[in-house]
Symmetry: none
Subunit: 204 residues, 4 copies
Amino acid sequence: MVLSEKQKSNMIIKRKKILTEAIHLFAEKGFEGTKIQEVAKASGVSFGSVFTYFENKETLFHAAVVEPLKKYEEDILNFNPEEQDLIQELESMIKKQIKIFANSGSYLNLVVFIIAQNKEYKDTFKELDLFNINFRIKLIHLIENGQKKGLLYKQNPTYIATAYTSLLMGLRLNLIDDPSSSMWEELSPFALQLFGPVKLKNEL
Amino acid sequence: MVLSEKQKSNMIIKRKKILTEAIHLFAEKGFEGTKIQEVAKASGVSFGSVFTYFENKETLFHAAVVEPLKKYEEDILNFNPEEQDLIQELESMIKKQIKIFANSGSYLNLVVFIIAQNKEYKDTFKELDLFNINFRIKLIHLIENGQKKGLLYKQNPTYIATAYTSLLMGLRLNLIDDPSSSMWEELSPFALQLFGPVKLKNEL
Amino acid sequence: MVLSEKQKSNMIIKRKKILTEAIHLFAEKGFEGTKIQEVAKASGVSFGSVFTYFENKETLFHAAVVEPLKKYEEDILNFNPEEQDLIQELESMIKKQIKIFANSGSYLNLVVFIIAQNKEYKDTFKELDLFNINFRIKLIHLIENGQKKGLLYKQNPTYIATAYTSLLMGLRLNLIDDPSSSMWEELSPFALQLFGPVKLKNEL
Amino acid sequence: MVLSEKQKSNMIIKRKKILTEAIHLFAEKGFEGTKIQEVAKASGVSFGSVFTYFENKETLFHAAVVEPLKKYEEDILNFNPEEQDLIQELESMIKKQIKIFANSGSYLNLVVFIIAQNKEYKDTFKELDLFNINFRIKLIHLIENGQKKGLLYKQNPTYIATAYTSLLMGLRLNLIDDPSSSMWEELSPFALQLFGPVKLKNEL
DNA sequence: AATGAATGAGAGTTCATTCAT
DNA sequence: TATGAATGAACTCTCATTCAT
């Protein structure tokens, strides 16, 4: 049977809906704690349909973690480590990334699960780790440029990158029960400090 | 009395053993992913015995999270916010706490679970949150003293405390698959920076 | 609609079958003594299917007791307390009811369980009690009419009704291991005697 | 080790206590519904002790049903079928037996269980049946004497005996949730009627 | 004799997955 | 493609029974 365009687009929408609800539920209840039936109900389809779009629960889980990753990577890596005004770029990057972390509660919760259970979900974790490595590499690139230009104190760039990404992730956990926290935006100066800018903001 | 002292002490040891194994398994696989049978096998008892010591799986889980908390709280809060040489005390505190976070992989993993699933484990989360609040209060106390004495830049102490505890937690997640990382001890200067010491180490 | 008519009717038949087998088994072994697995096997379905039709064992038990009640009530209460020829109606009623009691071994056995364990199965017992009350009320109505007409000796109608229903129930227990007993039909004169007919049969 | 007299008598008392509580609990909850732990607690002994006195749960159950039987038999069969004033003896017998049935709620409840589950508890049921047969034989003896003397109408004595014992048992079930019912004593005239006395009470 | 920790068979129940409709 | 009845593996938990103390 041939599917009409309308049917195809309908299926794409439905698949997307299932995935979105799956992310929410997996993030809230974990893999074992989430029932296919719940995902189906939240998505407005029969639980049989979930199996039409995803081979089984594991596939759905993997997709829920991995598929949004591309968009995140794009957003998170959207900064230029070669920028002329590096401090300006650094500040803007931090603000953007903090905003992303502040607004991606559910998904990052799911990420936390994978990290915490990395031994259980090796393959899925590997993909997150890849993203993390890319992120770190680009950060290090930026830091090295800043240090070369004398805009940042000389410190091990790897440590800085680790501290910074840890801070972001830690904030996500710390502010988890207060999703609309106003604290997020106030914390960028502290993130900036980690990079060791030669002229501290409050010194200017 | 019917149980001999020897029997009683045996029981205490057995209970402890079950709890230790439960922490490891819950940390690795989460609540639903951990089977009582596994805990029993890892503890070297029959699964029936697990129910001799813990009413049910939930009770065991709660105990696994909450019982170690006291010792952690004691260790983590073991610093003096009124100390004369405050910078010295701050540095030593950070080093101690980083060491604790570096060496408590399993347990902190479990803590991460509870935080990530705080809506599912409200009661258990509440106890962790209480600990967190106490920790923050004591940190703020120390920070305020440092600022009064002119040893730390004036910055919102709450933000500093949040950033610092977030950094610790974030590092735990970031270094999760590399438990013996040498990075831990190298990161205390970055943690120190968050507190805004007037004389930076590398300036001395 | 997704289920065809055929499927629906199949489900109704299957549910009925499960219930019938459940009645037999509960009657023979009691609630705790009956295993869901046995009910499933006797009904020719997987034990999982039992849970498709009945939420849990208790629901199944309750249904096994309560659902047949309506039909019984209808049959048992099928007499006219205002009938002109009251003695005739009384005799025919007794014969009918004795026949019902003689032929409903399993179900009445189940009823006996509920009565014996009325404290354990309060809700279920309440429904049986309601039936019993209705039965008694209608009997009393008939007895009072008979006494007014001078066809029955004046005796407390409540006592008569109690004695009569007790006799029926007691016979059920007494003849339990001999279900095809020829005694049943011979006992209606004794039941009749309880009502105190002015002209005893053997006097005519 | 030799047991002192005091110890021996203590054990006898303890065994009795366990049996009494077992009767109550088995009567209320049935065999499977009663837990050894409950019996122990109700008896004020450890559950281990129950196994000191009764080999296992089945033995305890059997004993709970069978051991009181002797005393009951003695009380129930305490009438003289050869008595001169037979009607007087009959009336007094009925009154005595009704009193016994009125006051033996728990035990008779247990008896009902065995009867209802006679296929499950064949051996235990057999002993009850034996008692029943003895009871019937003695009743028939009395009835035949009464009929010979012209004090009772000629009716099949077996039917009378069956109707009478059924009435007793049925009353036990009918009045189960109202143990102190005043109805019991009012019902002996109806029981008497079943025997077919030539001069009915209310004719005298 | 008395106790109760230890055991594990066996129960009810859940839920991913299959498949006929 | 969409549905949901059917299945049974696998889980938690109960409880009779054993046995060391």
